[in-house]
Symmetry: C2
Subunit: 427 residues, 2 copies
């Protein structure tokens, strides 16, 4: 491990260049136009490539477009030993292949409890029942005619994201340690609009959200949250919801654990107490060291992860490099992310780029020079409530290691001298 002084110097060289007005000058060796950086003729420059010689396929080749064949490795992945039953399973977003703050629809992680329901929107209904002035049923067409349609970007994180890490560094890649999160623009209407339409009786204090798939997914949500910012959404990132994200209708519960964002939403019941459904008793509760369980731990606390470099995205070059990652908080917006290259001894504030919206993912960067030294990379998010992302050990002291939920501890990647990275913990 390098010394603190060296680590500090490595991260500071770039800012020195900036301060002295040299930023952008001489980052790369000068090269003559037809020579590679190694000084040899580069056929990628000197040869006329096929695509510059021949007509390509026309517009009718893909009425709905797909990624380049050279991007075939950019896919959701599962973990064989974790998801043996494919219908009740998980796929993970390839965070290390993405940038910016929006997750493309085709790469949003999945968590199914009975596989993907392929619902015909013409046959889909949303029922409102329980402690209401009027029991009501809406078609998809009805919902799209309500006033007050809105667009909001929110992160959605599974409560079990990073859950395998409670007992130590286990999964080697941010796709697997942190890939149960995505960030999407939703279009829909406030749930409040529907509840107001039906008229909540004064003793109504909770809602139950129910999905139309065969898992019978149900979750209880306090009425206050339902009225505050929950949405009934039919579009993501501009187009209809994807089947695996609840097409044609899903509940959006901003900042709260993903399991509550009921997919294929078919019913909202209003009651005077929670329902104590399977997914809020046997599952999605946090077993503490003394055998008691925390329940109704809905809010996803501030969290961050460095996506590049990481085990699936090693450093390939000495010299200038871009470190990047993502941060999010269920309590507000991300106000700052600090990065350490020495396992948390020294920190510097990362540069944020892209919008910082409440309950939405933020993107950070550190531009740095790498001299081939070992790095112990960490990131630490802060949110607008003043909350600071804790270490994993801090969390374990309070919550023990029995749970698989709500692990928002600081992640460490060891980057070796050959550039390869590994999931490790520092004490």
């Amino acid at each position: 491990m390098m010394s603190e002084k060296k680590a500090h110097d490595a991260l500071d060289r770039r800012s020195f260049l900036r301060a002295s007005g040299l930023a952008g000058a001489g980052l790369f060796a000068t090269s003559a136009p037809v020579l590679s950086q190694q000084g040899k003729p580069d056929p990628a420059i000197t040869d006329v490539q096929d695509w510059a010689r021949n007509l390509g396929p026309g517009v009718v080749s893909s009425p709905y477009g797909k990624p380049s064949e050279f991007e075939k490795h950019v896919i959701r992945r599962d973990v064989e030993w974790l998801t043996a039953g494919k219908e009740s399973s998980v796929s993970f977003t390839p965070l290390h292949e993405l940038d910016g703050v929006i997750t493309p629809n085709g790469l949003c992680f999945e968590r199914h409890h009975s596989g993907i329901a392929h619902v015909d929107p013409a046959k889909h209904r949303l029922m409102l029942n329980g402690l209401l002035d009027r029991q009501m049923v809406f078609t998809m067409d009805d919902l799209k005619r309500f006033p007050g349609r809105q667009n909001r970007a929110y992160f959605l994180e599974c409560a079990a994201n990073s859950g395998m890490e409670w007992r130590g560094a286990q999964l080697n890649g941010c796709q697997f340690t942190h890939g149960m999160v995505h960030n999407v623009w939703y279009t829909g209407i406030p749930l409040k609009t529907l509840l107001d339409e039906a008229g909540v009786k004064t003793n109504g204090k909770w809602i139950l959200a129910e999905g139309a798939d065969s898992s019978g997914m149900t979750r209880s949500i306090p009425l206050d949250k339902a009225m505050k910012d929950c949405m009934v959404a039919w579009a993501m990132n501009g187009e209809a919801l994807r089947p695996e994200q609840g097409y044609p209708l899903r509940l959006v519960v901003p900042g709260w654990e993903g399991n509550m964002w009921v997919k294929w939403l078919r019913r909202i019941e209003v009651g005077d107490q929670p329902w104590h459904a399977r997914e809020e008793t046997s599952k999605y509760t946090d077993l503490l060291a003394d055998g008691r369980s925390r329940r109704f731990t809905w809010i996803m606390d501030a969290k961050s992860v460095i996506t590049n470099p990481s085990p699936q995205a090693p450093l390939k070059h000495k010299g200038p490099n871009v470190l990047t990652g993502i941060a999010w908080s269920g309590r507000g917006s991300i106000t700052r992310v600090d990065v350490s290259i020495d396992g948390g001894k020294n920190w510097r504030t990362a540069r944020m780029d892209g919008p910082s919206m409440p309950l939405s993912m933020a993107r950070f960067y550190v531009d740095f020079d790498w001299n081939g030294q070992e790095l112990l990379l960490q990131s630490r998010a802060m949110d607008s409530s003043g909350y600071v992302q804790p270490t994993k050990n801090d969390l374990r002291q309070v919550r023990g290691t029995n749970s698989i939920y709500h692990n928002n501890g600081i992640q460490t990647w060891l980057v070796r001298a050959n550039g390869e990275a590994e999931n490790v913990e520092v004490s």
Copy 2:
């Protein structure tokens, strides 16, 4: 055509409901939970659907996800008589099927001059030559190591968008009249960073951007614009550029006509004057009534269109309805959109929802009740420079009808009593 008074009343009923505290109450007929709005048992409610009875496919079924089979009509389309040669052709974004402000990658319109180049990123190079201190060549890896990576949302509009409408209402659907625009988050680095790295000589005043496809696409851009906000981008909406959008590298020229956003970008040359390339002389110039041509008309002026209702998206129900559309300006952000339902006699300010970012698309809504009257729908955008979108006739008085470019005139849809809409003009 209804009277002005009636038109005004129709649009104002919703705001009346709001003012009187009745908004959200009684928008739809009350229905018992198992009855349809018509009072008959609704099998969509009373029957257990297949998807609630059976397990669906698991996560491995689509490592890169696709839209629902029920959304197969949501595709880019071409116009047969307009795009006979498929390689040099156009496809249009289905604006009437989208919402929010971001265009999904699979639906971004295409304009190719030699078809889609399928470029191997390992063999792609970006050359900087001309009036520079150092001639340089970069690999994709090099570009991703530069400091200052950024994320920006920008609209891209083809200069010929709405071009068929100069001579009167021709194409029946906003996909075809306005579908050569999309709005995307780009990730990349400022072009300024690369130009600074190479060192622009004092007599360098213009750049030439060149694409790697077989069309030999080249455009001249003033150095001031190149240094101000142009980007060299490799990602769109979080993931790698799509092949039809210039994978692996495209130039981003915010607010300026789409043809200048050179795809498959392989070379930037710096010179002391423009190159007068084919695409800025024979094409992408605006032939005026007197036979002279406007040249270098780069900026896309403020424009808007109502996407719903429109010819491809008729009104289906009387009573509450949501009118929506998009607006954008190459001179700043959209500050306001007005909507008329009587062909421009009376206007009311639409509600904006979603972010209003500079040189990026904005979304507007009008929640209204429709009593089955005929409507002459128009929208009129205003931007942060104070510019107001003109009528088509205003434009024709100044520019004649010879051109196919830069038609940002106000669009009119006639909505008939049966809800169907048609592209018309009002004098």
